[in-house]
């Protein structure tokens, strides 16, 4: 058994353990959290009142403040990248006499990215797949999403290692990194094919035919009720703040 394969198994075990820990920490149902996030993003996009987005941002900041420092840093990193890109794209609006649009777009993007980053930190990608399964999304869609996220990570790391190995072997003037791009892409493709076969075998071993079973609790607990109450409050706030614009 190769060391790479052992490393891969270790990574999967680590992810599983991490997922179990996250699951234990998570108090509200993942599907409900995902739906609430969707509701927030839609309402923020529809809102003409910038203060509604500010209220949501304040709530998200409070949620973020409760997270461990490492997770806060991860969320802020993603949020700043998202907000920075949005600001860059909306910058012409300032010079065309609409600075308000610049602020609105940047704020709404920040809110959406921060919300998704918080949920991603809170649930993890396996948790997100489980939450999506809870929403009764088609199994084929879930399997594609699940494997895509997993292999994006694995193949990305594989390609990065190959690129690093090539750059370390670079001698003299010849740019091995550039000339090896086709080779890296081709090898990654072959690796992807091999991994997909192994994945299919692993699925067979674990009696998984691509059908996601909806496990976990089905009753509504206090945390779910709190999320539902928060959703109701957000809708009321949206309507109240939207009235002057109607």
């Amino acid at each position: 058994m190769s060391s790479k394969f052992l490393r891969l198994i270790e990574k999967i075990f680590f992810d599983d353990l991490h997922y179990q820990n996250r699951k234990a920490e998570q108090k509200a149902a993942g599907s409900l959290v995902l739906l609430s996030a969707f509701l927030c993003i839609v309402l923020c996009s529809l809102s003409s009142n910038p203060w509604f987005v500010s209220f949501i941002l304040a709530a998200l900041l409070l949620r973020l403040a409760l997270m461990p420092p490492e997770q806060i840093a991860n969320v802020l990193k993603v949020t700043f990248i998202g907000a920075g890109t949005a600001a860059l794209l909306a910058l012409p609006a300032v010079f065309m006499g609409s600075p308000r649009t610049f602020g609105t777009i940047t704020m709404k993007t920040s809110e959406s990215v921060m919300l998704l980053a918080i949920i991603s930190e809170q649930l993890g990608w396996k948790g997100l797949a489980a939450a999506a399964a809870g929403l009764h999304l088609p199994d084929l869609f879930l399997l594609t999403l699940d494997t895509t996220v997993r292999y994006l990570h694995i193949l990305g790391r594989f390609a990065a290692r190959m690129s690093e190995a090539l750059s370390l072997r670079q001698v003299g003037e010849k740019n091995w990194t550039t000339s090896g791009t086709g080779g890296i892409a081709g090898t990654t493709f072959l690796k992807a094919q091999r991994l997909s076969e192994q994945n299919a075998e692993a699925m067979t071993c674990r009696c998984f035919d691509g059908t996601y079973r909806r496990l976990g609790r089905h009753h509504v607990n206090g945390w779910d009720a709190a999320v539902l109450a928060a959703d109701a409050a957000i809708v009321v706030l949206f309507v109240y703040l939207q009235l002057p614009f109607l």
């Binding site: 009142n49 203060w51 500010s54 209220f55 941002l57 304040a58 709530a59 900041l61 409070l62 973020l64 403040a65 409760l66 461990p68 420092p69 490492e70 806060i72 840093a73 802020l76 703040l241 002057p244």
Partner: protein, 326 residues
Amino acid sequence: MHIPDNYLSPATCAVMTAVMVPAWIISVKKVKEELPKEKLPMLGIGAAFSFLGMMFNVPLPGGTTGHAVGGTLIASLLGPYAACISVSVALLLQALLFGDGGILAFGANCFNMAFVLPFTGWVVTSVLLKRIQSRKGELAAVAAGSYAGINAAALCAAIEFGIQPLLFHDAAGNALYCPYGLAVSIPAMMAGHLTVFGLAEIVFTVAVYAFIRKVSPSMIRASEGTKTSAGLKALIAVLIAATPLGLLAEGTAWGEWGMDEIASSGAGYTPAGMLSGFEFRSILPDYEVPGVPPAFGYILSAAIGVALLVILFKLISLVTPKKAKI
């Protein structure tokens, strides 16, 4: 007690900031030495309490208002150096985001509320704690410390206001900045702080200290215990939700009038230095959000302020490389 811009001359502001620089440097050094890295987020919790305490305005007959600061509370929980940093950051946030306290006067405000207040409170509390060992005695010592701390800070602010007409005036004798001399500023500031505002500081400090001692005793100056208890989180949530109570107090605190109010406050004129002074527009001036009731604006401001303070100190704990000595 938040001195706005243009009440103190730029020279006074520069001197006060220069005085605070070594205080900040020593405080940062001491906190790195004394507090473990894992406990640095507690500074954010302390700053959040101070920030919230300052939002609860208490009225005084005559139309003026004041508030608790909570500097002695943080000093009692985490030490005076940590209190200096926490209150300074809370004041910076208030000045930048909410226009509460001036940008130029930031050094002076920090000197009063982040240096004089916590250190005086801590010294008084420590001296009394050496003599009193009982549980009730501990609360009495914290109460006495908080009362002494806020009054010492108010006295310093009154002196800073009061020396302005003596040092900075035009040929006609009109003050360029704060128009009230020591004979007016000291009684005006101290009357409120020796009575109602001092009492508010005692109530806020002792109530929160007693609560923390009950629900999260490890937070009280011990090096262990780095997790914020659920009770503490609940207390912060309740305080955020209750901040609109601060709006019940009508009127402006002494020495915090706007440009349009200073002449009618009894001065009879608007000093020239104020008319041509520095002006800074904050994002949410006076904790108000346009288009929504003031209570909502207050809650939004409190939530943003608390969240930013906690996040900031958590991030600082992440980038602090050195393992502090325990």
